[in-house]
Amino acid sequence: MKYTTRRAVGLGLTGLTALAAFFIVGMLALILLDVARNGARHLSWAFLTQPPSDGMMAGGIFPAIFGTAALTLLMTLAVMPVGVLTAVYLHEYAPPESRFARWVRVAVVNLAGVPSIVFGLFGLGFFILFVGGNLDRLLGYEEMHWAQPSILWASLTLAVLTLPVVIVSTEEALRAVPLEQRTASLALGATQSQTLARVVLPGALPGILTGAVLAISRGAGEVAPILFTGAAYFLPDLPTQLNSQFMHLGYHTYVMATQSPNVTEASGPLYATVLVLLALTFALNLVAVIIRTRTRRKAASAH
């Protein structure tokens, strides 16, 4: 084949790859635009701040917003210390070639691949039936108190699900803290934990926060794990106890989209709910991606 033909064929195929990339971007834009346009129409202050009424056709979604926020907050409180410290172990404390550290890594990689619905089963089998059941027995509750779906068990289930996200981002953040700073601190007579608390963790803070944001965004959007660990379709009361059930934006979307007698009639509030959910998860993701791209570029230029 002549060089010019080869070049032309190459250019054509290159064009195809570009097409693939831009098609994906186009789909993303289509989703965002569709939700934004249709959702904005029904969005109002009242919608954001009132409980639903009239069989979900009227009123707002405040309990779902509140439930999602409370759930994610509890999840974050649970996952951050464990995730950050695990990453600290892997990057700062584990002896090199440590077999335990290698097992932890294998576990984390596999945890990230477990289907979210299996986390739901786990939450039900472990947290609700096993832990909750034993708690009830120990604390002497006659009727079910802990051994039932609740915001606590749902948030812990999500915490296990988002654990790999936090570990991976934190480790990346720890890697970005220059080794010389650790050496300098140790040479000044600081202990390893002092070095960790005063130099390494502050230096890794932006990356750790990115991990938190990613975990929150992931956790807020997951529905499968909370289907039978605590989410409820309609609950006029806000969850005030750790063992209350709760409304959730994603679950709300699922039920309304699949079980409404008339989806077209419900599409206004439905789109608005999805818009709120997207705004929550997507905006957080955007923030995380921007911070991460920036720190990666900085790290790359530092080397």
Binding site: P178, E180, Q181, A184, S185, A187, L188, T191, R198, G203
Partner: protein
């Protein structure tokens, strides 16, 4: 090779020190005394083990996995690898300044105060006076006294290195180890560091690794020449540079290799 009995006592002393990274021997049977309140220069071609030797004096090599050692290192007659020696205490007595200045991304004040804070000092006035004293000691006070709260990363390279010296001095160590402290600096900044070393030797015992033989000649009282992990020769600086005993030392200091 022999060490003449000197008037100043040996502050630190290596006896037949052997150091290995895994299977590779980095230092082979080095015996060397670092004399009290003198400047000892460690010279030699790259990879000769001089930096490794320096880092073993405050056990910074502990941080590198796979290092093993044999022989002893003494600080005031006490084995620094003894179970009864806490490495943190050791490093407070034997401070270190690195080749690349490595200030923390904190304020100038917090950089100098770091070692004091991790040592448990909380009193603000005491901290402030110690920071000032160290910065003055490192001849940096006049340049930074009006911006102690600004980030240390805003200082010039030479200032950053003097800040690192001040930071090391703040904990008032007895020995100061310097690993090519001026190799990344321009001639003016280098001159300032050398001047500083001159002043410091009244109070500190200093061991300095350097690539630069003029620098060794200018700042040190004694010079030790390392070659391929062994100590070839050690003696008064003047003698090493003008009348070395060993052929290899002569070749190196006259620039025939290295």
């Amino acid at each position: 090779m022999s060490l003449q009995p000197q008037n100043p006592r040996a502050k630190m002393e290596a006896r037949e020190l052997i150091l290995r990274y895994g299977a590779k021997t980095a230092i082979h049977k080095v015996s060397l005394a670092i004399l009290d309140r003198r400047v000892t220069a460690l010279i030699g071609p790259s990879g000769c083990g001089k930096s490794t030797f320096l880092r073993s004096l405050n056990r910074m090599n502990d941080l590198i996995s796979g290092t093993t050692h044999a022989g002893t290192i003494l600080l005031d007659g006490m084995d620094i690898h003894d179970r009864g020696v806490d490495v943190v205490d050791l490093r407070r007595r034997v401070g270190m300044v690195f080749q690349k200045s490595n200030p923390f991304p904190k304020s100038i004040f917090e950089n100098v105060a770091y070692g004091l804070r991790v040592g448990g000092m909380k009193d603000k006035a005491e901290l402030a006076s110690r920071v000032e004293k160290s910065l003055r000691g490192a001849a940096l006070w006049d340049e930074v006294k009006d911006r102690l709260d600004e980030s240390a990363l805003g200082l010039s390279g030479g200032q950053q290195q003097r800040l690192c010296i001040a930071r090391a001095m703040a904990v008032e160590p007895e020995v100061l180890l310097m690993d090519e402290p001026a190799s990344a600096l321009d001639p003016i900044a280098t001159a300032k560091i050398e001047e500083l070393i001159h002043e410091l030797k009244a109070t500190y015992t200093i061991a300095i690794v350097t690539h630069n033989m003029q620098q060794a000649a200018r700042v040190s009282d004694r010079t030790a020449f390392f070659y391929m992990g062994e100590l070839v020769e050690c003696g008064p600086t003047e003698q090493i540079f003008t009348n070395p005993r060993e052929k290899r030392t002569e070749d190196y200091v006259t620039g025939k290799f290295g």
